[in-house]
């Protein structure tokens, strides 16, 4: 999937945690034209602070080929302190320390690289704090 435009258009979310805060209070990390809950179309752009709490997690032992080199690795659903929900890998930790309720901070990390001369993909991962 060496598609540079696909990665480029996500740069604001993945590199700067840009999100939308709708006037209903709903916060979405992906761009949306409409709040799926309230129907609101009015929002402001915000940058998430990056701190949040783990709502659930798993340890992936069988991964797709892209991530197979890094198993076992934790992935978590995180609610940021602003209230946005995201899914992210938890990195730089002992997998036994990942718990529901654990506090995390989102950090800028390499996600994937597409071979020796392909695109290097970056994004957010979580570290325990």
């Amino acid at each position: 999937m060496a598609d540079s435009a696909r990665y480029h258009r996500e740069r604001f979310h993945r590199y700067a945690l840009e999100a939308q805060k709708f006037d209903s209070g709903f916060i979405s990390l992906p761009n949306r034209y409409i709040d799926p809950h309230s129907g609101s179309r009015t929002y402001e752009k915000i940058n998430l602070k990056g701190t949040g709490t783990i709502l659930s997690y798993t340890i992936i032992y069988i991964a797709s080929d892209q991530f197979a080199h890094t198993t076992p690795y934790p992935v978590a659903i995180i609610e940021t302190d602003e209230g946005a929900r995201i899914t992210a890998m938890v990195t730089d930790c002992d997998i036994n320390d990942v718990k529901i309720g654990a506090r995390v901070e989102l950090v800028f990390r390499k996600i994937l690289e597409e071979g020796e001369s392909g695109i290097i993909n970056y994004g957010y991962k979580a570290v325990l704090i």
């Binding site: 996500e10 990390l29 992906p30 799926p36 709502l55 659930s56 997690y57 798993t58 340890i59 992936i60 032992y61 069988i62 991964a63 797709s64 080929d65 892209q66 991530f67 890094t70 076992p72 690795y73 992935v75 978590a76 659903i77 995180i78 929900r85 995201i86 899914t87 992210a88 890998m89 529901i100 996600i111 993909n121 994004g123 957010y124 991962k125």
Partner: protein
């Protein structure tokens, strides 16, 4: 709106079908269904498949399947709703017959999964590609995160969770089309390799090749074709968020309740009227939550109830008499159609050793993604 009946069914064996390509499997199931109904020509058809493009590099299934099942000329359409593609094909065919547009409509489903090495990446396309899969979560990983919260909230034990695949494998022993028709011990489940903690290999539905097809017609014409038609009494469908993290309560699959309630309302029935249900047990935890969302058990209680025998013969409701996705196999696009075939067998008295006695109404529940889409059918013995 016209009433709709099933007048014929056909399916391949589910498993590793190395000698059959996607067209062969679909044609086998479709021809069997047409022969079963005694129809030489159909008016229209739908083919459900999740990802023929990624699995086999083949799209344009309307033309391909019309060509290879001997029905060139009739209108056809490939429908996709991830793992609910098969149920969506049946629903589309139901709507076409009920509306009066067509009389004899085939609804089929197919998936050729064993031709690719990295099936995990294909299945992950049913999740949010940019905001879930990109960050390393797999499909089992999503259900593992559901299971973890559910187990903590309701005190469901690892041993109780294991009773779901144990029950389904026990049922599958009597299903000649099942991929893995053998019994599992508790140890088999608890010692199987970890896939996504807390889910192990024996919590997960397998990789399967297979196809299934049913023929629908107006109920008032059904007796022209068969002595044993089965009525599709109601359909219910719904969508939910694409990403699991957008579920307000991670222990719930709201989409199932929405689709189920719509089907109950259309049928004028309640959960206590249903004798058996084929549910989408893609992972063990899914069967437990789905059984709750469909109203068969209170929230937080289905795991214990199934472990105590309430989900099998002699219990409150027989869940997955076919063996379910886990033991019968899960050729993604075919699954929703195969569920309807099982309900047809049960309600026409053709289920053999796995027959649920005196069943008047049966239900099927087919689900896409981590609760992103759901199709429910209620079928009625005539």
């Amino acid at each position: 709106m016209r009433d709709v009946a099933i007048i014929g069914v056909g399916m391949t064996k589910f498993g590793e079908l190395w000698e059959q390509g996607i067209r062969d499997m679909f044609a086998e199931a479709a021809i069997k269904a047409m022969d079963d109904a005694g129809v030489k020509k159909i008016d229209s058809f739908y083919v459900g498949a999740m990802s023929s493009g990624l699995y086999t590099y083949q799209e344009h299934l309307s033309s391909l399947m019309a060509d290879y099942m001997g029905q060139i000329g009739v209108p056809g359409l490939h429908v996709e709703s991830a793992c609910a593609s098969g149920g969506s094909a049946v629903r589309s065919a139901f709507i076409e017959v009920a509306s009066g547009i067509s009389d004899i409509v085939l609804a089929g489903g197919v998936e050729k999964m064993w031709d690719v090495e990295d099936g995990t990446i294909v299945l992950a396309t049913a999740a949010d590609q940019e905001y879930e899969a990109y960050n390393g979560v797999t499909f089992p990983g999503l259900y593992a995160m559901i299971a973890r919260v559910y187990m903590e909230k309701y005190g469901l034990t690892r041993e109780e969770l294991a009773q779901v695949p144990i029950k389904n494998h026990k049922h599958s022993v009597n299903n000649p089309n099942a991929q893995y028709p053998f019994e599992l011990s508790l140890n088999d489940v608890l010692k199987s390799s970890m896939v996504a903690d807390p889910l192990r290999l024996m919590d997960c539905s397998p990789i399967t090749d297979g196809a299934a097809a049913v023929i629908l017609c107006p109920l008032d014409r059904a007796k022209e074709f068969t002595d044993k038609p089965v009525r599709i009494r109601a359909i219910g469908a719904a969508t939910g968020p694409i990403a699991l993290h957008d579920h307000k309560d991670l222990t719930r699959l709201d989409v199932v309740k929405l689709a189920g309630d719509r089907a109950y309302k259309m049928a004028g029935l309640s959960p206590s009227d249903i004798s058996f249900v084929e549910v989408h047990d893609c992972f063990s935890i899914a069967e437990i939550i789905v059984a709750e969302e469909l109203g068969f058990f209170e929230y937080g209680t289905a795991g214990k109830a199934i472990a105590e025998g309430q989900g099998t013969y002699g219990g409150k409701i027989v869940i997955n008499p076919s063996g379910g996705l886990k033991a019968k196999g899960h050729p993604v696009g075919a699954t929703g159609v195969a569920q309807v075939i099982e309900a047809y067998y049960q309600l026409s008295g053709k289920a053999g050793a796995r027959q649920v006695p005196n069943a008047k109404f049966g239900m099927t529940q087919n689900m896409g993604g981590s609760g992103g889409s759901c199709i429910v059918h209620i079928l009625e013995a005539l």
